[in-house]
Point group: C2
Chain length 482, copies 2
């Protein structure tokens, strides 16, 4: 007798009519002592198992309850219910694990509506809810779509180090790593902590970005990408920040900024397309959730588009490319700026753009994703390539509806003498980054890359509102449970 | 004029005859002021660029030297050289970055033989060497092959947390993470470090395994896998240990141990097949390196098989499955045991197997990969499912030639009362693992999984001898450079 996952079973559908099959799963509901909705996590859809109670011991029937786990042997028959082609008439039912309803009290497995906040507190159980399981399957599709895109385009996946002795990039506050006895720290002659006795013989941190190491790899392998966890020890308790998140950073030798923009646009469209093609049912469910959530918002804050429409809008529009300077002109003359509606009014060139400005450009002005480029050197990182004007750098930010900046990147400064000048200006330690400078000493080449925060992308595609609901076990200030 | 990566250019080969193309790359060699071997990292093969020095300024010719970077425009013509179909006759050469030979002194970019140890010290430059670039491309293929296998088989990729508040599993020494001021640690009333003031409000560590969190995900999503960095703060300065390495951990609801073994075997064969199909040239190069290295070893230590043969031997043989008890009997009666050749003689049941025993079974006795299962409960982890004999657990180790244990896994203990007993016996804090216990309280199901260290697999497939040479920036005691 063939065993099937529920997704495969439903896909085969009527091809399996009258066959005997085995399925495993958890009970989502048990109606009228007769209809079990069984789910095994492979799909958001349940298979209906029909139980003729006369054929089973009462003790078995009693143990069939929400959240219990079963193995069912039975015959596939045509379903009379709406929305399903087939169902299974049970011949044998084995209770794998019981879930008495008294035990479920206080857990999110109880069959009623639970808030996303409560789900988060029981993160170990929320994989069994539709909303989180759907989000995880979409996240999975996005991750595979990313690997697939890079693989098909000749990129080499590079694992840059998580533990780093370098804290030079200054992308954010870092977590410290140590193997010293915290209750009894060894001190050196100056009375400071003696890191020479630590595991790595020096002070080490968790990485904030793999870019600099990624650049060294691109200088040999040509096209590379990193995809790994990165960390920020910043006390930001917002719906957009995590202390631990996953980042994707492609880096390409010989690419100038325009090719970098082409890559970013093609990459985003491919990955979103892949998720839409492979997660239809999950996205349909999430789109319905999104609609309901929008209706509860004040009208002014509602998304003009539904979830699927918003994704299609990104796929079907060419991303508008304009310089920071052009964007500032538009924003300065914009209605919200003139009417004092921006929290951070735009007074002139040089201002750092805030999320409100980015969203105005994308959602109101252009109504399409936007790539801004050529930012003032002062507000961007030291490694970005200086333009001939001496005041802007070849930075680019990709802005998305509902999200604002989703990708940040640049052409890198490949000229050693210009890089050195910038490092001095930004107070970056040249000695510490000797290896980074080395890549500009021997056959330096133009190159470009960008960074994408995975969870921001998952937020965009799933329509979820809080970043803690798109990663299995979120790490935030005062929270490292599980 | 079309721009090509060198891999794509060589693959198109004679289809491009007489076309004008653009290629970028680094000079590997420049012979007779006429023949440039150009490489861009996309393949181990170089494209030959022919320079007629009469057509170029002497200043350009002078800057063409090993490690310099160029952009070449030219015509594709048939090559008269051996081992190449085509070459490019240069029409324009742009020097992107020079590499004066004086500057290269002391670097691994100098055109001579460098030891792997020296390459490691210049890890930021070794991406430009054949041996390391080939290794990275094979590593990349293995990683993609892993994602592809799981994706095609319905597994959901789950990112388990890197920062963990739990240190209960006891898989190894952990690194401590903190955001406290190390020079001025806050103390509580008892005079101990006050972790309530730390970023997460408690003491946190770097993960040693995502398995326990992965199990919670499988309890909802059915089939999942983790693939991320894991850490060991162990002072092991060996060719087989890293403080930071990448681990793959599938976990499957409803799987018993025999299905877990089927999965492990099919998975390994698929992934290795994928790498062999997609990295032919790199593996050919690495196989030649492997042969040379073997010849330098004492005869007794040499591999009986070449690199490719060893891979094929894994693919073409069914993995032998036998119990720990059967293995002990074989080992006890074996020649090396009787002649006292084992460093750790096998005296009887209960002994932990060492690498020498595992390799004897694989390389001498069975001459095929081996899966050992049903180990003594005492020498395995608390979460492995107890057999009815009350003394063995449903553990499994997959043993490979030249490597020994490459996969370790088990069926998990799904019975709460048995798990609780084991936790008590092993001194595991039940309070701390409340969430792990929860998964056995509500619809518990049989489930199984295993762990594979990525770098061990890369060692096996590339034939490299030191684990530090198969990861971009190795972390080992006293070494967190870059």
């Amino acid at each position: 007798m063939q065993s099937y996952g529920i997704k495969a079973l439903l896909e085969k559908g009527k091809d399996l009519l009258l066959q005997e099959v085995v399925v495993n799963g958890w009970v989502r509901s048990f109606r009228s002592n007769r209809f079990i909705a069984l789910n095994d996590g492979s799909t958001i859809n349940n298979i209906q198992v029909v139980v003729d109670f006369e054929n089973f011991d009462e003790s078995i029937i009693k143990q069939i309850s929400t959240a219990a786990s079963l193995q069912v042997k039975g015959e596939v028959v045509e379903s009379e219910g709406a929305g399903q082609d087939i169902e299974i008439v049970a011949k044998e039912i084995k209770i794998l694990g019981t879930a008495p309803s008294d035990d479920l009290k206080g857990t999110i497995l109880q069959p009623k509506q639970h808030s996303l906040e409560i789900l988060r507190e029981q993160a170990h159980l929320r994989f069994r809810t539709n909303v989180f399981a759907a989000t995880m399957r979409v996240r999975n599709a996005l991750m595979f779509g990313i690997h697939k895109y890079f693989n098909e385009n000749g990129f080499v996946y590079i694992n840059t180090p998580i533990i780093t002795g370098s804290d030079a990039e200054g992308a954010g506050e870092m977590f410290h790593i140590t193997n010293l006895d915290m209750e009894n720290l060894p001190k050196n002659e100056e009375g400071k902590v003696d890191y020479t006795q630590d595991f790595f013989g020096k002070s080490t941190n968790l990485t904030v970005s793999g870019q600099l190491e990624g650049e060294t790899a691109a200088m040999g392998l040509g096209k590379i990408y990193t995809f790994g966890p990165t960390f920020r020890a910043e006390n930001s308790n917002t719906s957009r920040h995590l202390a631990e998140f996953w980042m994707i950073e492609p880096e390409v030798a010989f690419f100038r900024l325009d090719q970098n923009m082409d890559l970013a646009e093609d990459f985003m469209k491919s990955v979103i397309t892949y998720a839409m093609e492979t997660c239809k049912d999950d996205l349909k469910f999430l789109a319905e959730r999104f609609d309901k959530e929008q209706k509860q918002k004040p009208e002014a804050e509602r998304s003009e588009l539904g979830l699927i429409e918003r994704l299609e809008y990104v796929l079907n529009n060419k991303f508008i490319r304009l310089t920071y300077t052009e964007a500032i002109d538009i924003l300065k003359d914009s209605k919200p700026n003139k009417k004092g509606k921006f929290k951070y009014p735009i007074e002139g060139w040089g201002a750092d753009l805030q999320s409100e400005h980015e969203r105005y450009l994308v959602e109101k002005h252009f109504k399409t994703p936007v790539i801004l480029f050529d930012y003032p050197a002062e507000i961007k990182a030291f490694y970005m390539r200086m333009n001939d004007d001496g005041k802007t750098v070849r930075a680019m930010d990709v802005l998305f509806p509902g999200i604002g900046e989703i990708i940040g990147g640049s052409e890198r400064e490949e000229r050693l003498e210009v890089l050195d000048e910038k490092m001095e200006k930004f107070g970056i330690d040249k000695e510490e980054l000797w290896w980074y400078r080395d890549t500009r000493r021997f056959g330096s080449v133009p190159h470009s890359g960008f960074g994408l925060g995975l969870e921001r992308l998952v937020l965009f595609v799933t329509g979820m509102g809080n970043i803690r609901d798109v990663i299995p076990f979120p790490r935030t200030p005062n929270n490292a449970e599980f």
